[in-house]
Symmetry: D3
């Protein structure tokens, strides 16, 4: 072809005013807003903002024999403004991710290793959707609904959860109920749980009142 010269080509789209259109890597040092964090200056963005190596095996030597390791915007600034994120889930034998919701995102779980029994509860008629998932299986949990995962096999299980938000949130019912200073009487009244049950779990989880 007939390509005579380089320098004139660069005239095609010469805007004196630079603007980053493709991404908005989070600048965690600035105040955030309803749509996410402010963007880092493009000249300071590198490939390391878009990759993350922190999804290492979690420590499952705990009561739930499980660990959730997030790569949300606060850990992985490259996803800011892009509406997606991911987390690693480790489940030792008998491990459990207790009943929880993500207030602002749907989730897809992909099982990498082991066997996981997962389920969610519909807000319509309280229907349970329950599946045993094997290596390579995926399951979707619609936004905001109560769901859980348990290791239903005999070996360690590993899964990744991808989310439709850079910051999906995680509200674990047990923590919300028993790991704060919500008064026991109020909690009993709004959950129908017995006082003794509440006090027992508050003691375990560190709740007061």
């Amino acid at each position: 072809m007939f390509i005579p010269s380089l320098f004139i080509f660069s005239l095609l789209f010469a805007s004196s005013q630079a603007s980053v259109v493709d991404f908005c890597v989070a600048d965690l040092s600035l105040p955030n807003g309803p749509a996410g964090y402010s963007c880092k200056k493009p000249s300071t963005v590198t490939e390391n903002d878009f990759a993350y190596s922190g999804l290492v095996p979690g420590n499952t030597s705990n009561i739930i024999k499980a660990a959730v390791t997030p790569a949300f915007d606060a850990q992985f600034p490259g996803v800011n403004g892009l509406g997606i994120s991911i987390a690693r889930i480790d489940l030792a034998v008998d491990g459990v991710i207790p009943m929880h919701t993500h207030p602002g995102a749907s989730e897809i779980l992909i099982v990498i290793q082991g066997t996981i029994c997962a389920g969610f509860i519909s807000s319509f008629d309280n229907v349970i959707y329950l599946k045993t998932l094997y290596k390579g299986d995926v399951m979707v949990f619609p936004q905001g609904l109560l769901h859980f995962q348990i290791n239903s096999g005999t070996t360690t299980a590993l899964a990744y959860a991808s989310f439709g938000s850079a910051n999906p949130g995680l509200q674990i019912v047990d923590f919300a109920f028993f790991k704060n200073n919500l008064p026991t009487e109020l909690l009993a009244k709004t959950t129908f749980l017995d006082i003794a049950q509440i006090k027992k779990l508050k003691a375990v989880l560190g709740g007061t009142n």
Copy 2:
């Protein structure tokens, strides 16, 4: 002014192909989609599609001494596609709206009569935000978070809850846990509740397994 004739004026915006741009009143007889119901033909829409008189006092002669009466898209077709809806909340003395979430909407509560203690739990550090609300007070509950309302006064209370969705959903934790066939063992494992506690509430609420 100089306004010579009517008929030519109508030429301004004469499109042979009619299109409803302003609203999309739900046609509940057609399949719905991710964004809501299909629209009724404009020629069949009347003012009655945009008004609703069904927010009458709810029957609070029940265990929670409370009633929620919705005007969501299924009851009030005019809100379809507009991203808002409303519900009436009646609380008899000692009435409670138990711990619940709206999976897809934030809520503003406005107290019309009586005194209501309301609260929500943040997914960050499980912080409780708790307020006693009097006539005329409003409170906002961010999307997807666990919250509750109780009548904390000595008279009947009335409130309206407005939502940022035509179909906000309502997931009551007690119903989700105890009013279905979710196996007791599985529920115990994912909530840390005692088996006895679960069986007791399943018995009350009609849950099986």
Copy 3:
């Protein structure tokens, strides 16, 4: 159940980088953006950010015998980023909320007291949807359309308007036309109103030119 120890439980979701995912209370001292105000630091947020007691009876001793009292993001910082807000409407006998639009939000009106005649005008064929609303009735006004409310009863009327935006805007046609320096000739040309009519209303509302 078998809950051996507390401290290991806290390992479940330990992110060194805090992030508020659930809400974004407006920091009105910082610049806002297209999606709303910047978020207050979570440690400074209290329950008072989520509740508002300013929806007191408005002063209706004015020409329209009406008052609109907003709880939008600028007054009620907790709604920032949540896409909802509310306002109180007081109508004395013969009170009128004149023809207006909310440029960026749909509205649901709930009548608390009195009788209100409300209506909106479709942009398609200029159809009027007009209803007389009694205590407990609701009506929805689709986004951006001209609408109005008048007290059509014999007593004071009270209503709340909920919106699908934290900042719905309010453009009153009379104010937009007659309460600024829009030149009379230009206004006549673009509205077909008589010069005398324009001058009369400009005099009343304080418009110039």
Copy 4:
């Protein structure tokens, strides 16, 4: 390079279930929904769905000496679901596009020929933003705000208006007030216009009551 065979290449992304991901050309024969019309079957879509030749000069032999010719989803099915559309504006000498809003879209006007005086009114303090636009100038009108265009030159003017919606709507204040059966008394009460003024314009525009 080393490219041995064709047929195995086609294995890369062979989904037995076809799905159109790129566009959703409107099937105007099916009911529409809140997000737009249903999609035509991909096999019936042609290049003619994505191009439109109907933006021909409008007839300006009318009272406003102007014409608006839309290419919205109902005329130009290819824009369905894509959130954009366009219209042609012809203004004869002294032509006027009267005060109007687009309830659901912002607009950019580009002047192709002639001189246009355009303005919009902010809902905040009723500030007027007014500009005389020459060939090649653009002006943006934020969503839902009252605005107008007039031919302020001595020749015919031509402009295109592009919108951030496939169906932006068009609510002309004069039509909304005077070209329907909205009762004169009610209109007077909600606009402060004189009865005589209303009757005069209703007579011109065909309004009743």
Copy 5:
């Protein structure tokens, strides 16, 4: 606690008009719309709609030594309307996912096995962001940008790609240029590629003209 009876509890939220609020499983037999497919009737939805076992190892005995196996809405109806999906990527030794875009979604890649060199090109200054990813590493590719993945290790590689759309699309540049009937002259003119180069790749990929 004091829970006298079951049947009255069910009065709390008794809406005669059923409505599915939590999800919208695709009914692939109905026309789709801009927001996705119509919803299946809730009574026909089962747990199998929310899980998918089709992400099996792809056949990499092809020219690119790679395979992409999607779980988008057309394969995995449960993600319809939820704004997320996932795909499996198999890369044999020397395997390549050629330069491509997803027109409507950002992507997170998680490496399960092997070593992958991945990169994307910014539309601003054509900057390349290039990373070698090892087992457990993630990388994000912002919406619509050109990107690629190659097996840069000595063993088979496996990864999952999660997307912020139920139907992210996949436009492979080589396919778009050389695997259709786009005239060679036109392609040369719009890509600056040599005619011989174009004809060579058209021959391989099955393009005509």
Copy 6:
């Protein structure tokens, strides 16, 4: 009518806390966020923020005999947050806008002068949609898809492109491939282009490696 006094009218909507609801003119001196730039203080906004005269004829004395002149948010701050923008396209005889995408926006092209052959490629089955457009014709290019425009007439051509984003981006395939430091071997591997072809175009466009 009965309009007694001005000053009381101003009580209608008196909020002590000002808030700009209608627009968010970009303050280019502040960091931007995922939804766009921060807003200028309303008191500093003028009509000049909403109009732009910079869409002047571009210099087409270059290799592609074409020029694109943008009025995106960085050039035209009034469009910030409004989701629309526009650009001017000049095509000399034989001018070409090479294969490109806008990663985050759909586009409507309107031909003002001359004859333009335009086309886009679907990601589904690589179908080409190709049209010759004459003065006054419009064509829509769905979001993120590869497309191009060439002057197919015998005179200079002029067109405007409107976008459904204030910052649509522009990724030209030739620039992305050949005008940076993407290693030739990697590019060959991910595009199947011959090394010689790549080196030839890198030489022209200034690419290295």
